[in-house]
Amino acid sequence: MAVISLTINGKKRTINADPQMPLLWAVRDVVGLKGTKFGCGMAQCGACTVHLNGKPIRSCITPVSTVANKKITTIEGVGSEARLHPVQQAWIEEQVPQCGYCQSGQIMSAVALLNTNPDPTDAEIDQAMSGNICRCGTYNRVRKAIHRASDMMKESALKTK
């Protein structure tokens, strides 16, 4: 066991955990943020996607000790219902989720994509999103929602200029 400092969604947390514990379980069971989901435990499904310094990672295979003092963002840090991120807004507009279980991961991948590539092509969406499995089969809507979010973000960027 070790004392590890984490910065999650801008807040500092100190936890006492096995350094080898995957970040996924540290976030869910120790810190108590349940939005990040477990699907496979071997970097196959993307349900556990979080951002590490803005980049999407699979928290199920990331030992918690390796992310100490780095910036971690989970779905809870992306936006709340009172202040939705454009990606979340687009997800609602397109009514993407069915069971919803994979969607935290889908959204984390989509937000990361749009952060680096505000206007992705279909091929770029394929590339960025193929690591996220949705057993309910919401893929067509995921694609549409990413395009919609991209449009929304461009529009609001124009307005603020």
Binding site: K37, F38, G39, C40, L84, C99, C134, N140
Partner: protein, 726 residues
């Protein structure tokens, strides 16, 4: 009865509210207030001294103006959390943002709470409408009484009763007290479909904001103070028994509290395991890895997929149970001018919902509290009571959002496992399966083997048709068979019987195949495999007589106007008659079964060694589409699951165990592989029928038929490699 604190608290809350007969504790989700938590609403309920009118267990009106509609079916992604309350709201004349939807806990007053068979909306359609209409009538009468005017001068709209001549109005809340004194009308007048304001219009699902912010609580997210996490080491061969286990190393892992034998009861089967219970899930997993268990596989280690295929082929030579026999197939086939025969081989499959199986159970004395993702809340209550030999009222079942069902959560083994462990250690225990546990744990979709024969007369008209299905029995592997001579599962014939083709000499055989592994209902059940054989073979028949496969089908349809209309609709919507670019092919398939009916047209183009799916057009006749956008969503999802089964995943057995362990070798279709899917809903004012399953069966045969059209290659075995057709 000794009660645990939370249970007695809720009993009190229940008593205090008197006439308010909502379930004593409700996990609620306040759709009217964005940002509200998924919370336990019982205390809020208890605090208010209010007058409430319970028109049915599903509709509760309060004098505060609050309108509560209970979602009494679990939300597994299919949308009933909204679609069912929406039907009540339609008749009640309220908009969805005027109501609070609450997820009901298991309670016998709700009747059947299960979700399966694409059955929820259609089975409750009439009841839900009646409940809403009854409330509306009572409120209208209450207003008429208050104003002392004739009741037919009053009407309901947007949560208010209006007096037509004067225009005055009163809110439902203000009328609740008087309405409460009236009798609930037994046969309230239902709205004319033309007057529908909600039904038939796309509307946004209230569970979705919670699902895009990570706030929706699934079974796996449940937590109570003092609980332990459990991971169970299971036999590689499901039915193996424990010879011995060594847990010294496991117990040394910091956080590990108990190591003990576990049992997992799934209907007639009980499987063994060794459970590690720890303060964190990670510690439980570490402990499990450190275990050394010796298993006795008994006779079960001899089960291999290769042998099954050979055995199914042998069985295909036998007649099995003749389920349907019209005319004289043998004579007609013998005398046919042209004959066609083919075999189709379909594999076992796992459900693999994204949320692994889990359950949190807290057994205290003779009461239990359960939090889980299930398709059968009322069965969880009843079966747990039976398992522990306690009254069902002592079992509280919290229904959380379900991260995918697909039939897997019609089985309660994960619940029994948690209940067993909690009882053993006297603490709340949350069992969480790994993905590997889920793949290895069954139950599986039955593999089926189909042998088909058709005979044509001199004019190319089909005169004889036989479909023989060799299939393991879900019922037999789950419940056993009373009559040893009747072990076949009637389900294996579903869809065949509904197939609309009018052929004078027809025979369907159901050949029972014994397998030692538990089988389960998988989305679309037997139709998920038998439709592939049936609709591919009908395509072969069309080509054998040189006819357009869609026209051939249309010509063969007899009395079934519903299917004829569906196919005609699909032909129009898919642009079937338009010329195709060079190198393209198109295929069609459609299917009617217990869940409903739908069809697909798939367009493919030739690639180097395979094909690319260019586009899929689906058509569904679901009767009245309660929320058309959600119907589309379900058909899209069914299509993707059908394609996944065709192109990606199968479960195979080696030495008694499933060879596949996780998503690397049991693959899913991914976003980059998913073609555009267009869904068209046949306009209809019939009562609603299912949408969860009908989108699945025809997808794969329509694809295979398109492949034949484009390449001349006939696919008769799933899964196959779309990039290399061999």
């Amino acid at each position: 009865m000794k009660q645990q604190p939370s249970l007695s608290l809720n009993r009190r809350a229940f008593l205090k509210t008197g006439g308010l007969t909502v379930s004593s504790l409700v996990i609620g989700f306040n759709s009217a207030q964005a940002g509200s938590e998924l919370v336990n609403l019982s205390e809020r309920v208890a605090e208010k001294a209010l007058v409430s009118l319970e028109v049915s267990p599903l509709v509760i009106l309060e004098n505060t103006g609050k309108i509560i509609l209970m979602a009494h079916k679990p939300e597994i992604g299919q949308g009933t959390f909204q679609s069912m309350p929406l039907i009540v709201a339609e008749e009640l004349e309220v908009s969805l943002d005027q109501v609070e939807i609450r997820q009901a806990m298991a309670d016998k007053k709700f009747g059947n709470m299960g979700v399966g068979g694409s059955y929820s909306v259609r089975s409750e359609w009439a009841n839900l409408r009646k409940a809403g209409a009854a409330a509306r009538e009572m409120l209208t009468q209450a207003a008429a009484k208050t104003w002392n005017v004739p009741v037919d001068e009053c009407y309901a709209r947007e949560g208010k009763i209006f007096h037509k001549p004067t225009g005055k109005s009163s809110s439902y809340g203000a009328l609740t007290e008087i309405a409460k004194t009236l009798d609930v009308p037994k046969e309230p007048k239902l709205k004319d479909a033309k007057e529908f304001r909600l039904v038939g219009k796309p509307s946004k699902r209230p569970d979705i904001p919670a699902k895009v912010t990570g706030r929706a609580k699934f079974g796996i997210d449940a937590e109570v103070p003092g609980m332990l996490y459990a991971s169970v080491d299971r036999a590689p061969v499901m039915q193996a028994t424990i010879k011995s286990f060594e847990d010294t190393a496991a117990k040394k892992i910091p956080g590990v509290q108990h190591v003990l034998k576990a049992e997992r009861k799934m209907n007639k089967n009980t499987f063994q395991g060794v459970a590690v219970l720890a303060d964190t899930y990670w510690a439980a997993l570490q402990g499990r890895r450190a275990l050394k268990v010796e298993w006795d596989n008994g006779q079960y280690g001899a089960f291999n997929s290769a042998d099954i295929t050979a055995r199914f082929k042998e069985l295909a030579k036998t007649d099995g149970h003749v389920d349907t026999n019209k005319g004289d197939f043998d004579t007609a086939f013998a005398g046919a001018t042209k004959k066609l025969e083919a075999d189709y081989e379909l594999p076992f499959a796992a459900h693999a919902p994204m949320e692994p199986q889990n359950c949190l159970a807290s057994v205290k004395g003779d009461t239990v509290e359960i939090w889980t993702s299930t398709q059968l809340p009322d069965d969880v209550q009843k079966e747990t009571a039976k398992y522990l030999n306690i009254p069902p009222e002592n079992v509280m079942v919290h229904v959380l959002f379900v991260g995918g069902g697909f039939g897997r959560r019609l089985f309660l083994d994960q619940v029994m496992e948690a209940v067993y462990l909690s009882k053993q250690v006297g603490r709340p225990v949350k069992v969480v399966w790994t993905r590997e546990d889920d793949m290895a744990g069954g139950p599986y979709r039955p593999a089926t083997y189909s042998r088909l024969r058709a005979g044509f007369d001199g004019a190319g008209k089909p005169v004889a048709f036989q479909h023989k299905v060799v299939a393991p029995s879900i019922n037999d592997t789950q419940f056993g068979s009373k009559d040893p001579a009747k072990r076949q599962d009637d389900g294996a014939m579903e869809g065949l019987k509904e197939a609309p083709y009018d052929i004078p000499n027809l025979r369907f055989n159901n050949v029972f195949a014994d397998v030692p592994v538990p089988m389960g209902w998988w989305r679309a059940v037997y139709s998920a495999t038998t439709c592939f054989a049936h609709e591919s073979f009908v395509d072969e028949m069309a080509h054998a007589v040189g006819q357009d496969p869609l026209a051939f089908r249309l010509n063969l349809i007899g009395e079934n106007t519903r299917m004829k209309n569906l196919l005609t609709f699909l032909r129009e919507q898919s642009g079937w008659e338009k010329p195709l670019p060079a190198g393209w092919g198109k295929g069609v398939a459609f299917w009617q079964f217990f869940a409903g009916q739908a069809g697909h047209v798939v367009y493919v183009s030739k690639t180097d060694k395979g094909v690319k799916i260019e586009k899929i057009v689906a058509a569904v006749d679901c009767g009245t589409a309660v929320n058309p956008d959600n119907v589309r969503s379900q058909i899209e999802g069914g299509t993707v699951m059908g394609l996944t089964a065709a192109l990606k995943s199968a479960i195979t057995f080696e030495e008694g165990r499933a060879k596949q362990t996780n998503f690397h070798d049991y693959q899913m279709l991914r976003l980059n592989e998913t073609p555009p899917i267009e869904v068209h809903i046949l306009p209809s004012s019939e009562s609603p029928i299912g949408v969860g399953e009908p989108g699945l069966p025809p997808a794969a045969p329509a694809l295979a038929n398109a492949i034949f059209a484009a390449t001349g290659k006939r696919v008769r075995k799933l899964p196959f490699d779309i990039n290399d057709l061999g």
